[in-house]
Symmetry: C2
Subunit: 221 residues, 2 copies
Amino acid sequence: MSGTVRTTRLPIAERVLEVNDQLAEGVRADLARRGIFAIDLIGAPGSGKTALLEATLQRLQGRRRPAVLVGDLATRRDGDRLARWCDRVVQISTGEGCHLEAGQVRDALGQLDLDGVDLLFIENVGNLICPVGFDLGQSAKVGLFSLTEGDDKAAKHPYLVTAADVILLNKIDLAPYLTFDRAGFEADVRQLNPTVPILGISATTGEGFDAWLGWLERSSA
Amino acid sequence: MSGTVRTTRLPIAERVLEVNDQLAEGVRADLARRGIFAIDLIGAPGSGKTALLEATLQRLQGRRRPAVLVGDLATRRDGDRLARWCDRVVQISTGEGCHLEAGQVRDALGQLDLDGVDLLFIENVGNLICPVGFDLGQSAKVGLFSLTEGDDKAAKHPYLVTAADVILLNKIDLAPYLTFDRAGFEADVRQLNPTVPILGISATTGEGFDAWLGWLERSSA
């Protein structure tokens, strides 16, 4: 290779983060008071965030009372998909915004009847970078990768891997048609986050969902 | 669905963009003087940007003299892959940065011997959102989607689709194993950008590369 260039962070980002962190603490306190366990779900576009939530909501019916916030630049498509499985869904349209912020979560929660709700899924904007730095008041961060993205994505997104409380590896049903070095992927995760659970799943076939739902039950107990 | 929340853009973003646009005009003038056609390649993590460039560089050997800039948060993996096919590659490490900026392109070009170069590929950070607003001085923007991301990604990323000079739809070799509504995807693109070429390709099998290389030759002639 001919060379490398390194860059530094914009100072203006610091102030935005400070304001966000204050709002996030307010959300966190409100959720704790209500006994709601909140998941911030972060993954690339097409990693299967909505499919994961559809399959999860379906399996939680009658067992838990979830609510869902879902962020996207445009369209209500994800919200409409999730509303089939949950009667408390708010779609957050971010316009050009590349991630959700705590103020949006606070406003969206204000639109929901949270009476009896014990679980909150926040589907972040499809993006492996920007969502990581913005605290939403969540109880846990779920980092979602998928086999079709290639086995180098954990190493290339160290901030998400380091921050995640669980790593899900979706689309394992497509393994026969792809070249994906799963041992290499897991070794990259381990370098960054030695103890995080790494769970292979398929939101399409349901493979691996016992382990995922088990993690969810234990974490939110 | 229970409701929707809409948000607006941060005013601080405007100043950053102004500075970037000035730097981009400098890069554009420099590239024009040298007769270099520059591509800004934008796609999600795992859409196959590096694989597309590997397959493209391989086919251009002996026909064109390309250079490559490649952006990632971390690792030199993409740069190392591309250096097998091109002797003028600079890896740009953005740290927490979610997109490339014109100043990084200018600095990276300063590290390259551009004598005789007639084509520049800039592989942006894997992200469908942030890279779109930052002019890099490119001649054309390529929007890369892939079948495995799902057929809703054009509608969900209107800024990229509107800005793109060509839309590539990668991984068409995996069509038998996926549900992907290609007519729906193309209809969403057409709503946003009525005339943009939409080319199905596979960076793995080479399917569709005649059309892609034909577009490249015509555009950079």
